[in-house]
């Protein structure tokens, strides 16, 4: 059946020409010359004051990248990218590495204010400025006070500020920009960087390894439950720049961390490239929860401009009983090419992927996940919902595989898609590979999966059919939304409000 009117209206509200974050800000910037060469990489590395091993690592990745070809297997079309026509480094001039918010260019602060980062975050940003000292005391007796978020704000190529650092340090948590981590904690970075997504992994990850400029670094030591949500907010401002951030999160034995990421960019006619790499490492009994609200500029109603979002995200459940959970709400970008994955290496480890992807205008989304079962008794769960409207193409592409030794591997996959209008397309491309006879994989892609029993149960209590379905659907969708931290849940709620009536597999 076709989509219901309510759904159509809700999707229209987030249509491409309704993009709220498209403003740009005039800020003096320090840029590397256009183009890519070993010299540019040396320039970036020098700017960041990096040790020589880091430069070597970058150069090696660059040489590797020169031998690679752009992947073409995804269901996305775009003109050839001229990699020499991009600025690989752009940093606001007035901030050569601020330590607190008061050092940050007020123009940049205004940007973040204008972006409508959830209100709570803004209060906290303000709070840092005012009560830096008192907060320290307060923190010591109430580290688990909920609702606070530490933010790392990345503006073009550099991290401009990281909040709550002191309080986090007290708990033993390191949260800083990756450039700082390379300088301050080289032993940790060296140990883990590239251990999940090797420098030679794929075309875009390799490019990122060569030229990444900033990103966040999180280290949660053994047995520590991170006292607050951590968050990074990415903003691409400068024209013709590419953003290449690198995020590395390590949770040691028994640690827990919840991390969220948001992103926006100005409205421009040219396409901009964003090629990030995110690596997660969970050791024994650790848990990492990674949430994304991706709202890069999607291009205008004619498909002009927008961000090319080519991202490699991968989590390694390295320890036994570890857990990694990805939650993503994707509404932006002209092109999305992203498959947050879990390598379930430790015995009894768990991987989760919850995704809602809404495409509109001429957006192209090719997203999904990979669950690679290597350890014994590993389990994974995939819930994906794609909504395509306008002239967009929305593809779910996922892989679930069990290796020879992955006894008792379990997977459940459910992906639904919804089409609004007959000019768009929805596609499902799941790959299932079982090499172990005790593996149990289930994949389904229908909406008729609301069980008759459930419906009967609700209707029997005098609730009309339509309301009964809505009730059940809402209950089901809650599973996804509950994975998001409070701060983003509200934003995502608007999207989830979209009924799934009329969806197809």
């Amino acid at each position: 059946m076709p989509a219901v009117q309510d759904t159509i209206d809700r999707v229209r509200k987030i249509d491409v020409d309704q993009y709220k974050y498209g403003f740009q800000t005039e800020i003096a910037v320090d840029k590397a010359p256009k183009g890519l060469s070993e010299d540019i990489i040396r320039f970036i590395s020098a700017k960041k004051d990096e040790p020589s091993w880091m430069l070597e690592w970058r150069l090696e990745a660059y040489r590797r990248w020169l031998t690679l070809e752009e992947p073409t297997w995804a269901r996305v079309n775009y003109p050839n990218i001229d990699f020499q026509d991009i600025y690989y480094y752009a940093a606001p001039k007035s901030t050569p590495g601020p330590t607190s918010l008061s050092d940050v260019d007020p123009e940049i602060l205004k940007v973040y204010e204008k972006l409508g980062i959830p209100l709570k975050e803004q209060e906290i940003l303000a709070g840092v400025q005012k009560t830096d000292a008192s907060e320290f005391e307060e923190a010591s007796d109430n580290v688990y006070k909920s609702g606070r978020v530490a933010v790392d704000a990345v503006f073009d190529s550099v991290s401009v500020v990281t909040t709550f650092k002191k309080e986090l340090a007290q708990a033993g948590v390191i949260f800083c920009s990756i450039s700082e981590a390379i300088r301050e904690h080289p032993e940790l970075v060296r140990k883990y960087l590239g251990s999940v997504v090797p420098a030679s992994d794929n075309f875009y990850a390799t490019l990122n390894s060569a030229v990444f400029t900033d990103g966040s670094f999180v280290f949660v030591p053994k047995g520590v439950r991170c006292p607050m949500e951590l968050s990074t907010y990415f903003r691409m401002n400068e024209k013709n720049t590419g953003q290449f951030e690198r995020t590395l999160i390590i949770a040691e034995e028994g640690a827990y961390v919840s991390y969220l990421e948001g992103c926006t960019a100005p409205q421009r006619d040219e396409n901009q490239l964003h090629a990030a790499v995110v690596e997660l490492v969970a050791l024994d009994d650790a848990e990492i929860k990674y949430s994304t609200v991706q709202n890069w500029y999607p291009g205008d109603a004619e498909g002009k401009g927008g961000i090319y979002n080519f991202v490699t995200k991968r989590g390694d459940c390295r320890g036994d009983r570890s857990k990694i959970s990805w939650t993503q709400v994707e509404t932006g970008s002209a092109i999305t090419w992203k498959y947050p994955s879990c390598i379930l290496r430790g015995d009894d480890s768990q991987g989760e992927f919850y995704s809602i992807a809404v495409s509109n205008g001429y957006q192209q989304v090719d997203s999904g996940t990979k669950m690679i079962h290597l350890g014994k008794n590993t389990s994974s769960r995939i819930i994906s919902k794609g909504i395509a409207a306008g002239f967009s193409q929305n593809t779910y592409r996922g892989q679930v595989s069990a290796h020879r030794k992955a006894t008792n591997a379990r997977n459940f996959t459910n992906c639904d898609s919804l089409l609004i209008g007959d000019q768009c397309g929805a596609h499902t491309v799941p790959y299932m590979e079982a090499k172990n006879s005790t593996a149990q994989f289930e994949h389904e892609a229908t909406t008729s999966k609301i069980s008759e029993d459930q419906k009967f149960y609700v209707m029997q209590r005098g609730i009309p059919e339509e309301e009964a379905i809505a009730l059940i659907v809402n209950g089901f969708v809650k599973d996804v939304i509950q994975q998001l931290p409070m701060e983003f849940a509200v934003e995502a709620q608007k999207l989830i409000g979209i009924s799934l009536e009329g969806s197809v597999g």
């Binding site: 059946m1 076709p2 989509a3 020169l66 031998t67 690679l68 070809e69 297997w73 020879r404 898609s417 089409l419 609004i420 209008g421 007959d422 000019q423 768009c424 397309g425 929805a426 596609h427 499902t428 491309v429 799941p430 790959y431 299932m432 590979e433 079982a434 090499k435 172990n436 006879s437 005790t438 593996a439 149990q440 994989f441 289930e442 994949h443 389904e444 892609a445 229908t446 909406t447 008729s448 009329g502 197809v504 597999g505």
Partner: protein
């Protein structure tokens, strides 16, 4: 950026290209047919598909096809009894049709070699795309087959069984079948033989308005054979096609199924069982195009994997932009019974129309322990209990066919497989 250099030809590629040169003078066909053959061999000269070609992702033909037997003029295949008594048998022995084929009222049967010689079959010889290696291989080498035309309104009482039997060497056959409007028929395609043969077989079916056809593919090649097959069908207005595929043999098997609904009200049913043993590599790949509004389809594939077998099912349902009110459902269930076996599946949906109901499901599991317990608690020993459950798992698909004689015949084939491999 590095340059992709043309890799060295594999021995199999070289053998195919050389064989074409040797066979050329013996292949039937007029100018038009010969042009198609030249194009096809050119495609093979570019290399057999590798896993980098998406449609061959799980069957790297270039790597897996490591030996190509020579053509063997001395090979003598023997005709076998049809699976349903009283069927009209049209046999192809080592790729050669019978000059004195039996006749049935309302059915015209021609030898394909004649149609190739006069060129009337030439338009149908084009491969469907650059990744159609089986189509290209067959077009290059096809020498014979049957061209069958079932007249409008004909209702066949007994099945027509097309036997493609070989005894080593290479055979390349083609079976174009047209079923007129309102006609009804059951057609059995038998693929069997002995020896380490290479077989390519392409069936092309066109269903007229309101025609109803049940087509059974029973593939029981020896464990040494390479079997590359294609089944293509166009289903016309209000026509119904039930395709049943049973794969129970072969070393390297690829069965492609390309179906297109071309008229409103068309209905397609695919039921398949893959019984995989030894070290077979069996790939069933389906592409179904819902090209017009109001058409329906259901596909159910059941796989049993034992030994070191590798199984693949790829199923893609394309719903075209104007194909509103499409209803398509696909399920692929696999029982993985050995630790050395593996199964990969890729059920795809490509949907461009918004008012449709489409779904797919796929599972890979071992035998349900509760079921096993239930039977064993009743005194059935474990081996028999497992046997019963596995058989029930696949027999369920056969029982959906509503023709007693056919169900019995297929269950007999199933029993035979379980006797040798159970």
């Amino acid at each position: 950026m590095n340059m992709h250099t043309q890799p060295q030809r594999t021995p199999a590629e070289t053998a195919l290209i050389d064989a074409f040169g040797d066979r050329l003078s013996l292949l039937p066909g007029d100018g038009a047919v010969m042009l198609k053959r030249d194009d096809a061999i050119e495609a093979i000269k570019h290399g057999l598909p590798t896993r980098r070609i998406e449609s061959w992702h799980y069957t790297d033909l270039r790597r897996l096809l490591n030996a190509v037997p020579d053509f063997d003029p001395a090979a003598a295949a023997k005709a076998i009894a049809p699976i349903v008594d009283g069927s009209t048998v049209l046999s192809l022995l080592n790729g050669v049709s019978n000059a004195k084929a039996p006749t049935v009222e309302g059915v015209s049967v021609q030898r394909l070699s004649e149609k190739l010689t006069d060129g009337s079959i030439a338009p149908g010889l084009d491969p469907y795309g650059s990744d159609d290696a089986i189509g290209a291989l067959n077009t290059a080498f096809v020498a014979d087959g049957y061209f069958i035309d079932i007249a409008d309104g004909t209702e066949l009482e007994k099945p027509v069984e097309l036997q493609n039997l070989q005894a080593g060497g290479q055979t390349h056959v083609r079976l174009p079948v047209r079923v007129g409007s309102g006609a009804k028929a059951v057609i059995v395609e038998r693929q069997a033989g002995e020896g380490a043969a290479l077989t390519s077989s392409v069936s092309q079916l066109v269903l007229g308005e309101g025609a109803e056809v049940t087509w059974l593919i029973v593939q029981e090649q020896p464990e040494t054979a390479t079997h590359l097959a294609q089944f293509k069908a166009h289903i016309g207005k209000n026509a119904k096609l039930t395709l049943f595929v049973m794969n129970a043999g072969g070393k390297l098997v690829r069965q492609e199924i390309m179906v297109r609904t071309t008229g409103e009200g068309a209905d397609f049913k695919l039921r398949g069982i893959n019984l995989l043993a030894g070290d077979t590599h069996t790939d069933v790949t389906m592409v179904l195009d819902h090209a017009v509004p109001h058409t329906t389809s259901t596909e159910v594939i059941r796989n049993v994997v034992t030994g070191k077998a590798r199984g693949v099912f790829q199923g893609r349902i394309n719903v075209h932009q104007y194909a509103q009110k499409t209803n398509a459902k696909m399920a692929c269930n696999t029982l993985l019974l050995s630790d050395d076996g593996e199964f990969s599946t890729k059920p795809e949906l490509e949907i461009f129309a918004d008012d449709v109901v489409c779904g797919h499901g796929a599972t890979v599991t071992e035998i349900d322990h509760d079921h096993l317990f239930y039977l064993m608690a009743r005194g059935v020993d474990e081996k028999s209990a497992r046997g019963l459950l596995v058989k029930a798992f696949v027999a369920e698909v056969i029982e959906e066919l509503d023709d007693e004689a056919i169900i019995e015949a297929l269950e007999a084939r199933l029993d035979e497989w379980f006797v040798t491999h159970g």
